[in-house]
């Protein structure tokens, strides 16, 4: 692999998140390096999705610090996170079901559109030039994900596996530096999982995108991740390369059950 894992791009320090008396995350620290594939695993309710929500600013942790590209923050803000190049997909697909694949992907470039409302309304001057440029980017994503044949199909009519792929496309359209994937392979059959793995690896390798993913399929996680962090009841119980994590007795007891 030509891809070089770089320095730390995102550093999470002593993050604690509470909802009233419920401790979702307790004193969690880990980092994400540039160009790596970082997995977060753990049993249901371990706080994995909450962790992603902290990273892109949906939740504000009560304690802790986030260092993104050397910039210290108390918490992230969703808009700032998106502008800074953090994109994500969701556990339950978040797309506009009535809109076509193409329009959904164009929506993914929303933040990069600079022309004003009136210019867009009349599709005039800068708005037209801009849209053509964005369309070009979106077509590259379509080509990348092999979804030419559904370009003009409303998302709601697509099978689940393809919707998942489109959601990845919507996130990619924003040309993110960090891509957060929340269970990208949940509910897929073997073939769809293989395709999705291929796409994740290609995104990472060819576009150099850093990836943080939550996934329950241990085969997949151990195969494609560079490093894995393990959560249980909101606490970090393991962190390291797949082989380390697999042989960590605490992780086996809490989550893996048997040695994979």
């Amino acid at each position: 692999m030509a891809r070089q894992i770089g320095g730390v791009i995102l550093d999470l320090k002593n993050i604690s998140l509470r909802f009233g008396g419920v401790k979702a995350l307790t004193d969690i620290s880990f980092d994400v390096r540039e160009h790596e594939i970082r997995a977060i695993i753990g049993p249901n309710g371990a706080g994995k999705s909450s962790m992603l929500n902290v990273i892109n600013g949906v939740y504000r942790p009560q304690e802790g610090e986030i260092i993104f590209r050397g910039e210290h923050r108390r918490d992230m803000d969703t808009h700032a996170a998106a502008e800074a190049g953090i994109a994500r997909t969701f556990q339950n697909i978040a797309l506009f079901k009535g809109m076509t694949v193409l329009d959904n992907l164009m929506a993914g470039r929303n933040l990069k559109m600079k022309a004003n409302f009136l210019q867009h309304a009349f599709w005039w001057g800068p708005a037209k030039r801009e849209e053509l440029a964005h369309r070009r980017k979106v077509e590259e994503v379509i080509d990348f994900l092999d979804i030419e044949h559904i370009r003009k199909t409303p998302v709601g009519r697509l099978p689940y596996g393809l919707q998942k792929r489109v959601e990845l496309g919507r996130a990619l359209a924003a040309e993110p530096q960090i891509l957060l994937l929340d269970e990208p392979m949940a509910g897929m059959n073997v073939e769809e999982k293989q395709d999705m793995c291929r796409f994740i690896l290609d995104v990472n390798d060819q576009l150099g995108t850093t990836i943080v993913l939550i996934e329950h399929d241990m085969g997949v996680v151990m195969d494609i991740s560079d490093r894995v962090v393990v959560l249980d009841y909101g606490k970090k119980i393991g962190d390291g390369v797949p082989d380390e994590v697999k042989s960590n007795p605490e992780v086996i007891a809490a989550y893996l059950g048997t040695q994979h």
Partner: protein
């Protein structure tokens, strides 16, 4: 591209090689569109002069890599402009392009790569590069692999793998330094040089490389143009495998002779969408594609609202009554003409548009028999669908149906320049300028296929009717006899079965037996939809195929076929007595079908011998476990307990 001035003096009809035809178009119609491809969502086009430039650069690039006169160039991939250009580039250098079926697994390619001594291969993408790398050890003579689409190939650092961009750049420099090189190479080409090698699909034994000359394909192309009045302003959508003789005739030979525009779809999945966007004037598809299109239309009509559905059915009844007659120019009553005009406005026109066939002047089908109802359906909605007949060995050019002389059960009249003779055993023999030069390195097979009088033996059984139209019955070797002595033409029965949208494939047995029995493959799309409509849950093909409800459905189809067979004395004895629905789809990856999706009868009979035994042994069911190959080369097993059903048969004339 600079070329000798003598070529311009010639008129198109006397040009005798494909590179010279390209030069001719580049000179006389430099800015007319030669080729289009949808890329990044936008149709890109190339004029004839642009194509000529690219082809010249590619030829020079190939020469730099050491490609010489007489060498063979493997071409593997979907229909891409640059792959078509590679054919012409090889021909400029006096080499022979050898297109391979792009969906073949790597091991299947080994035979052709070795047989044709391939040193240079031009492939579409990473998938094909990977296949060639997989078999590289077995093919030591393979020296260079060129790829069109660089995606995913960034890390392939092997020195023998080159991007086409790189080779084209090299070629352009070569062409600038030696501008006469290409001109001289083109001038050296002769009409009787081999222009292409197409491998037969190998229904029997190993594939054979059929060597065709420029003269043969140009004669076939000109003959077809004369019959159908093809002109330079046409458009064709090229989506069928480049290794198939039909695509080579339509998308390469005729496109270069007539000078119409070749359109390459974005991907195999987008063909329907691309077809609607391009609106080709000239279209070719095997019966299977027309069948799938009709099935889709019917499924969608069933999902449509009540008003639309009843309108569709009412006007389709009108079309059935007089549509084909109108197309043939036969007399039709004024009232029907009026109704048809209305139908054309409300139903047929929009339907043609949905199918992407609004601008079709001629559509062809061949490769297998087409069900008469299916054929008639397209003609009745105003699409000039016709049949032709031909083989790889005859440049897919033997018979064509002339306009307005369409008989549903014939493949038309002998094409210009073709002589037809029927042997005593019913085998069709043909002679003409389009015959193969030879089978590559197989003088024995060449001698076997051409008889003492110079006729090629097609292996098909048929006869010429009173009007001189050729009718095909079956493969000559497949026509057998029941134990009772009645003629048994399995294809004939299978085609009748396959006309039902729920049946995708059928294999009939009966030679030397006392009755006819059949294997059935259900059509996953049609039957799946049918099952969903009834709230019938199923987990996959095997499960669905075994459902008693599905058996009921198929039994009704078989019964209808029996009733039809019962009406005709010739075939009344060959009604299907027992059948079963196979637990897996017949698949070329498992060698059960050829790459052109024809059943390999002998292989299937051998593989499923236990099932045939059960059919004739009177058993009510039979367990079977079968190994299947997946696309990526992995293997798995499918097992099922197959139920066998008896079907009602009809006394002759009773139904």
């Amino acid at each position: 591209m600079a070329a000798g001035s003598e070529a311009s003096a010639l008129d198109a009809s006397s040009i005798d090689t494909f590179p010279r035809l390209l030069v001719h178009h580049a000179r006389t119609r430099a800015d007319a569109p030669a080729m289009r491809e949808k890329d990044m969502g936008i149709w890109q086009s190339w004029s004839w002069s642009a194509v000529a430039d690219e082809v010249a650069a590619l030829a020079c690039g190939l020469a730099e890599l050491g490609f010489k006169r007489g060498d063979r160039l493997a071409i593997i991939g979907d229909n891409r402009p640059r792959l078509y250009w590679s054919m012409c580039a090889a021909q400029i250098l006096g080499g022979v392009p050898v297109p391979l079926y792009q969906d073949a697994v790597a091991q299947e390619m080994v035979f052709v790569l070795l047989d044709a001594d391939i040193r240079i291969a031009i492939v579409e993408d990473q998938e094909q590069v990977d296949k060639l790398l997989e078999v590289r050890e077995q093919c030591p003579q393979l020296q260079h692999i060129l790829y069109d689409d660089p995606r995913g190939l960034r890390h392939y650092t092997q020195p023998f793998i080159h991007g086409m961009d790189e080779v084209l750049a090299m070629g352009r420099i070569h062409n600038a330094n030696q501008p006469d090189f290409v001109v001289e190479e083109i001038a050296r080409g002769r009409a009787d040089d081999v222009s292409i090698m197409l491998y037969t699909s190998g229904t029997t034994g190993k594939p054979k490389g059929v060597c065709q000359t420029h003269a043969a394909f140009i004669a076939a192309a000109r003959g077809g143009m004369a019959v159908d009045h093809l002109a330079a302003d046409g458009d064709i959508l090229s989506y069928l495998p480049m290794a198939w003789v039909g695509d080579h005739l339509f998308s390469y030979a005729q496109a270069l002779v007539a000078g119409f525009t070749v359109n390459c779809p974005e991907s195999a999945e987008t063909v329907m969408i691309d077809m609607r966007e391009i609106g080709p004037s000239y279209y070719f598809a095997p019966p299977r594609v027309f069948e799938n299109l009709l099935t889709q239309v019917m499924i969608r009509m069933e999902d449509a609202g009540r008003i639309k559905r009843s309108m569709f059915h009412a006007f389709m009844a009108v079309a059935k009554r007089c549509g084909a007659e109108l197309l043939d120019g036969r007399p039709v009553s004024g009232a029907d003409r009026l109704l048809y005009a209305l139908g054309n406005f409300f139903v047929y026109g929009p339907l043609r548009n949905v199918l992407g066939m609004s601008r079709i002047r001629v559509a062809y089908t061949a490769g297998a028999a087409i069900g008469p109802d299916l054929f008639k359906f397209y003609r009745s909605i105003g699409i000039n669908l016709k049949q032709f007949y031909g083989q790889t060995e005859t440049c897919a050019y033997v018979c064509l149906q002339p306009d307005r002389q369409i008989k549903y059960d014939s493949v038309g009249k002998p094409a210009p320049g073709v002589e037809i003779n029927i042997a005593d055993n019913g085998e069709i023999l043909v002679k003409g300028p389009m015959l193969l030069k030879e089978y590559y390195k197989r003088p024995d097979a060449t001698a076997e296929s051409i008889n003492a009088d110079g006729y090629f033996m097609t292996g098909d059984a048929g006869f010429l009717d009173d009007d001189g139209h050729l009718k095909i019955i079956d493969r000559a070797k497949d026509v057998g006899k029941l134990a009772g002595g009645a003629m048994f033409a399995p294809n004939y029965i299978e085609n009748k079965l396959k006309f039902f949208p729920h049946i995708k494939e059928a294999v009939c047995f009966g030679h030397d037996r006392d009755m006819v029995c059949a294997f059935i493959n259900i059509d996953m799309g049609a039957v799946g939809n049918w099952a969903e409509r009834r709230g019938l849950a199923y987990s996959g093909y095997t499960d669905l195929a075994g459902k008693p409800e599905v058996y009921e459905l198929i039994e009704k189809c078989v019964e209808e076929v029996n009733a039809e067979l019962g009406r005709d004395a010739m075939v009344a004895d060959t009604q299907v007595h027992r059948f079963l629905v196979l637990h897996k789809e017949l698949d070329p990856d498992d060698d059960e079908l050829t790459r052109t999706r024809k059943v390999r009868r002998g292989f299937v009979a051998e593989k499923y011998a236990v099932l045939i035994e059960a059919l004739y042994g009177g058993k009510p069911s039979q367990f079977i476990e079968t190994e299947v190959k997946f696309e990526d080369g992995r293997k798995g097993k499918v097992a099922a307990d197959l139920v066998i059903r008896d079907v009602k048969t009809f006394a002759q004339g009773a139904a």
